[in-house]
């Protein structure tokens, strides 16, 4: 089992939900309205007057074999709308109840 933390511009919410339906991901944890800035350029998402954009984050835990297809889909979303921004990070799940 691996967890994927997806951080994306709020506008991409429908696409992220679509991805989850595509890969039959049911469980998720979402944190909305988070600030952030990318390391490789792009506009900061700070929710201020100057930078009004905001991010949402989605934490999903999936089987190991699902990780790569999910990342591929996310990559495609990122390519489609580069300016908005979407990033995903994968961790191992050690144990769970």
């Amino acid at each position: 089992m691996k967890s994927i933390l997806i951080i994306y511009e709020q506008a991409l919410e429908p696409e992220v939900k679509e991805m989850m339906r595509l890969h039959n991901v049911r469980g998720f944890t979402q944190v909305q309205n988070v600030n952030g800035r990318g390391s490789r350029g792009g506009e900061p998402h700070l929710g201020t007057h100057a930078w009004p954009a905001l991010n949402d984050t989605m934490l999903i835990v999936v089987e190991d074999e699902k990780v790569q297809p999910i990342l591929d889909t996310l990559k495609q979303i990122d390519n489609d709308s580069e300016i908005l921004g979407i990033r995903a990070f994968v961790w191992n799940i050690e144990a769970m109840i």
Partner: protein, 1042 residues
């Protein structure tokens, strides 16, 4: 902003809410009555008291003065003026605007109760007359007649007045100039003396012979009948055989001593329309009724009514306020539509996308209909003020949407998807949009607090524009982003046609952006020079104002196609002579201005005392009052003012005429009449004040553009007075009251009884035959019977003398005054006032005479003070709004400087177009304060944004300028073009709004150009200094630690 996101996420409910608003607005629009002016409470009351037979001086002493004494104590009274003339006393009470007039009327009525007992016995009860816009006749119909003239009154009363009065909303229908039937009993005083009879006795006998008496009931068998004596005359002939006395066992019949004629009133006011005699039917409406509806109803009834009249009676509408309203409203509607089209073209030009254009244009109806809802709820009407409000707003309501949409488009073009671009794009500029809307509200909301005449004009305007721009703000941050998220496409594929048409425009606009970027780069580098240049331009632009190239007046005069004129012949001229001259003048006017004049109507002579409308106007046998109706403004080349000037000079050249007063506009307008200056000469002594007034009047004629100079007091009227000797009266057992009643009954007649026919009543008047009323001897020979039954001639009781008395005594603030009045035609009022003051100051005045100035001049000064106060208040509010939005004092200050350039532009525009500085241009300047700071706000807000995003000051300014150039140009050009139709309109009533529109167009154009140059350089100066100061502070702080 939360609201934007909610709107974007819930497109259905957003759309439906706005659709609901539009539907409610359209519903309200269909229910709104149309009128020329907003309904306002009058501030003027008139108290009219008639005292038949009294001269002006008697009226002044016995009626006016005691009443003034009491009425002067009414609360909130502003001015108290009075006119005492033959038979009538008219006291005018002017209150401060905004007083509850019903309350005031009650106060006045209470005071009048106090004084009633002290008024002379023969005087009528004082009538309180409330003058309001409703009193202005909405339609005047002339009825020309030839053979039917003697019976015209009855024909019109039954055939027309009754029917018209039944039309919903019609207040009063009065008939002027048609003589009423009267049964005249002309007695021969010599025969009366021979039979020892009096007019009073004869009157009593006639009354006793003309009676219906109920005599109770009678029971006959089982039935009960009522018993009655029907003794009333059934035809006037029966009067012949009335027995008026017995002499030597012989009956004396009325026919033996009198000649009985079934005739018309002796003194009547004659009325002519296009040189044919007839009557005038004056129709007034009820308060709050819809003028246009009533007028069209009445006009549709006329052909039907005409059928029921004798063939020689012709009806003709001579005055119809609804045509003026309709034309004015139509020209304003055209203006609104034109503004709409202009705005659409501008948006299309700049955005190049029809979907974007639709999104912007949608905000116009959404905002405008909100004003209809407001009007409907508050019971307002569609009038020139509210419609002008719409025209003013049309160019402003799109601004917010433009700024929002422009930013969203930019986001989409950069690659965001429409949904997030809409929410974010709207958010980015929301601060600027809210701030610029608030500044506009800061300008228009204080309008609602204005008082006085200006308050009436602009209160509703203030509310309407405030509501409309608030609505436009709401639409801009909800509806616009919602629509962009649905309608705008990420990848726009242009057709080939579009590329060929719009391609060059787009390239041009892009080049303009870059070009402006280079300019900003230059001005920010040479900021000192730029600022000096700006100051120079501002000072230069003030020159036309300082050198007096721009005149000042109160309100611009507007052409409503009506000219009123009163012509006065020397006192004592008979009515026939007056009539002939009037016919000649009427013919001349109609021939000279064949294509311009529609109808010439005039009336002359004294009206009967029961006609209130006629009582309000000056009338007499030597007076003619003309009413000239011109064809509507767009159908003629010569202006109303020019025609009025020509008629005036023609009348002045007729040697028989003593005094001429030609009023272009008819003098019945609430606003928009010609500008007047009244010089009031206060003083008790008639001769003294007359001399001074005459001198002023003569010298004022040399002032350029000061026309139609009249002196309010007319000539002394010759009159015969009977001076009774009180001792002789007492010796004969008589008192003054009895003696004067005898005189009055013989000369003016006594109403003996009423003759009834077909449900109408006519007076039976007993009076000396006309041939016994022609000389002083006839008066001296009148017999007065004392209680002992002895006859005494008036010659033995007193003397008949000829004296001269002023016909009308005018008073203001309980002092006699004489007014020298004139109108401005061809020169601004301010110049005329300056010249007039020079003349007055050069005149040496006796110590008991004082001078005051009034008329439009006084209104102008009052309104100037109001406007200054308002301007200062608005300036402060605008600053407060901007300072709180920017949370800074510096940036608002930079923005306020753009107002100075707006002032420059306004002055230059007024100078170039030759308009004057007046109430409307002052309003225009005040409006500019809110409109021009918008540009600065949009610009500075974006520069600040750039700096927050980490750019350096100059870079932020240049990039901000490049990016904001289009929205600034778009909002300014839509506002300018929205106002342009009003500025160049030639429709009816357009003169009034022109100065305002010219000021806004000029000021906005000028200030937009200069704002784009000076705001960047000023920003660089202030922000640069700020940055340096912060750096020094930092260095100092850490220098200490080290």
């Amino acid at each position: 902003m939360k609201i934007t996101e909610t709107a974007v996420k819930n497109p259905v409910s957003t759309a439906l809410i706005f659709i609901a608003i539009v539907i409610m607005g359209i519903f309200s629009l269909t229910k709104l009555p149309i009128d020329l002016y907003p309904n306002f409470d009058t501030n003027t009351l008139m108290v009219i008291t008639t005292y038949p037979g009294a001269s002006a001086e008697d009226i002044e002493a016995n009626v006016t003065r005691p009443m003034e004494g009491v009425l002067n104590t009414v609360e909130n009274l502003k001015t108290l003026t009075s006119q005492s003339r033959e038979n009538t006393s008219v006291i005018t009470l002017e209150f401060n605007w905004g007083e509850n007039i019903d309350q005031v009327t009650n106060d006045v009525r209470d005071k009048l109760e106090l004084i009633k007992m002290q008024l002379p016995a023969g005087s009528s009860n004082p009538i309180i007359f409330k003058f309001s816009t409703d009193m202005i006749p909405i339609i005047m119909i002339s009825a020309q007649a030839k053979e039917s003239l003697p019976g015209l009154y009855k024909i019109l009363d039954n055939g027309i007045a009754n029917q018209l009065a039944r039309v919903g909303g019609v207040g009063a229908v009065s008939i002027m100039g048609a003589p009423e039937r009267e049964i005249l009993v002309y007695v021969d005083p010599n025969k009366m003396a021979a039979y020892n009879m009096t007019v009073e006795g004869i009157s009593q006998n006639i009354a006793a012979a003309n009676l219906n008496t109920p005599a109770g009931t009678i029971n006959v068998g089982n039935n009960s009948y009522s018993l009655r004596v029907k003794g009333e005359f059934t035809e006037p002939k029966q009067l012949d055989s009335v027995i008026v006395g017995t002499v030597g066992n012989k009956n004396v019949f009325l026919k033996d001593i009198a000649q009985i004629t079934d005739s018309l009133q002796e003194h009547i006011q004659k009325s002519f329309t296009n040189e044919v005699q007839g009557a005038t039917i004056v129709i007034q409406k009820q308060s709050g009724a819809n003028t246009v509806q009533i007028a069209s109803k009445i006009k549709s009834m006329l052909p039907e009514l005409q059928k029921g009249l004798p063939s020689d009676v012709k009806l003709n509408v001579i005055m119809d306020t609804s045509t003026n309203i309709n034309n004015t409203i139509r020209s304003l509607e055209e203006t609104v539509i034109l503004a709409f089209v202009f705005v659409m073209l501008v948006v299309m030009f700049f955005l190049g996308r029809w979907r974007a254009t639709v999104i912007i244009i949608v905000t116009i109806p959404v905002s405008l209909v909100s004003s209809f809802i407001f009007l409907f709820v508050t019971g307002g009407t569609l009038n020139i003020i509210t419609l002008s409000g719409l025209t003013i707003a049309i160019g402003l309501v799109v601004d917010d949407a433009i700024v929002v949409l422009e930013n969203i488009t930019k986001h989409i073009e950069r690659g965001s998807d429409p949904m997030s671009a809409s929410a974010q794009g709207a958010n980015e500029v929301s601060l600027a949009v809210v701030a610029s809307t608030l500044t506009l509200i800061a300008v228009f909301l204080p309008f609602t607090m204005m008082s006085g005449m200006a308050g009436i004009m602009f209160k509703v305007l203030g509310w309407l524009v405030t509501i409309m721009i608030t609505m436009s703000l709401v639409a801009a941050i909800t509806l616009t982003p919602m629509m962009t998220s649905k309608l705008m496409k990420k990848d726009l594929k242009h057709s080939k046609f579009f590329d060929t048409v719009y391609g060059p425009i787009e390239r041009g606009l892009n080049n303009l952006d870059k070009f402006y970027g280079r300019i900003v780069s230059w001005v920010t580098l040479h900021r000192g020079l730029t600022v000096v240049l700006g100051v120079l331009i501002f000072i230069l632009s003030l020159m036309p104002m300082v050198t007096g190239k721009i005149g000042a007046e109160f309100t611009p005069a507007s052409d409503n196609a009506t000219i009123a004129a009163t012509v006065e012949l020397p006192i004592g001229v008979g009515n026939d002579v007056t009539c002939n001259l009037a016919l000649k003048i009427s013919k001349y006017i109609r021939e000279k201005y064949k294509n311009e004049v529609q109808v010439v109507n005039f009336s002359t002579g004294l009206p009967s005392s029961d006609n209130t409308y006629a009582l309000l106007r000056n009338s007499g046998d030597n007076l003619i009052s003309f009413n000239v109706r011109l064809v509507s403004k767009s159908n003629r080349k010569i202006s109303m003012f020019e025609i009025a000037d020509n008629i005036r000079s023609y009348l002045n050249d007729i040697p028989d005429i003593k005094k001429v007063n030609v009023i272009a506009g008819g003098g019945m307008q609430a606003a928009g009449g010609q500008q007047t200056l009244n010089v009031e000469v206060y003083g008790y002594d008639f001769t003294e004040t007359d001399t001074i007034a005459a001198k002023f009047a003569k010298e004022f004629k040399t002032i350029k553009g000061f026309k139609n100079i009249t002196v309010s007091r007319s000539d002394y009227q010759p009159e015969y007075q009977v001076d009774f000797d009180r001792e002789k009266l007492a010796l004969n057992g008589l008192n003054l009251a009895t003696a004067s009643t005898f005189l009055r009954n013989r000369m003016s007649g006594s109403i003996a009884s009423l003759y009834r026919e077909d449900g109408d009543e006519y007076n039976i008047r007993v009076v000396n035959a006309p041939m016994y009323r022609t000389s002083i001897e006839d008066i001296e020979n009148i017999l007065i019977y004392n209680p002992m039954g002895q006859a005494v001639k008036i010659r033995d009781l007193g003397t008949v003398v000829q004296r001269f008395t002023p016909p009308t005594i005018e008073r203001k603030s309980r002092q006699r005054l004489i007014t020298v009045a004139g109108v401005a035609s061809g020169a601004p009022l301010s110049d005329i006032v300056a010249d007039a003051k020079k003349i007055v100051n050069a005149t040496e005045l006796p110590s008991d005479i004082s001078i005051a100035y009034s008329g439009s001049y006084q209104d102008m000064q009052d309104s100037n003070n109001d406007m200054l106060m308002l301007g200062a208040l608005i300036l402060l509010l605008v600053f407060v709004v901007m300072a709180s939005q920017f949370e800074s004092l510096t940036y608002p200050f930079i923005n306020m400087l753009t107002i100075l350039f707006a002032l420059s532009g306004a002055i230059i525009a007024l100078w170039l177009t030759g308009h004057t500085f007046n109430m409307m241009s002052a309003i225009g300047i005040i409006m500019l304060m809110g409109i021009v700071v918008k540009n600065g706000i949009v610009l500075i807000d974006y520069i600040n944004l750039n700096r927050e995003r980490g750019m350096g000051v100059r870079h932020a300014v240049i990039r901000g300028g490049e990016s904001r150039l289009r929205p600034v140009l778009m909002t300014s050009i839509t506002a300018i073009l929205g106002m342009l139709p009003l500025a160049i309109s030639n429709g009816e009533g357009a003169e009034m709004w022109q100065p305002m529109a010219v000021v806004v167009v000029g000021g906005l154009t000028f200030s937009t150009i200069l704002t784009l140059l000076f705001v960047p350089s000023l920003y660089t100066i202030f922000a640069g200094t700020g940055v340096k100061r912060n750096r020094r502070k930092l260095e100092k702080k850490y220098a200490k630690i080290n």
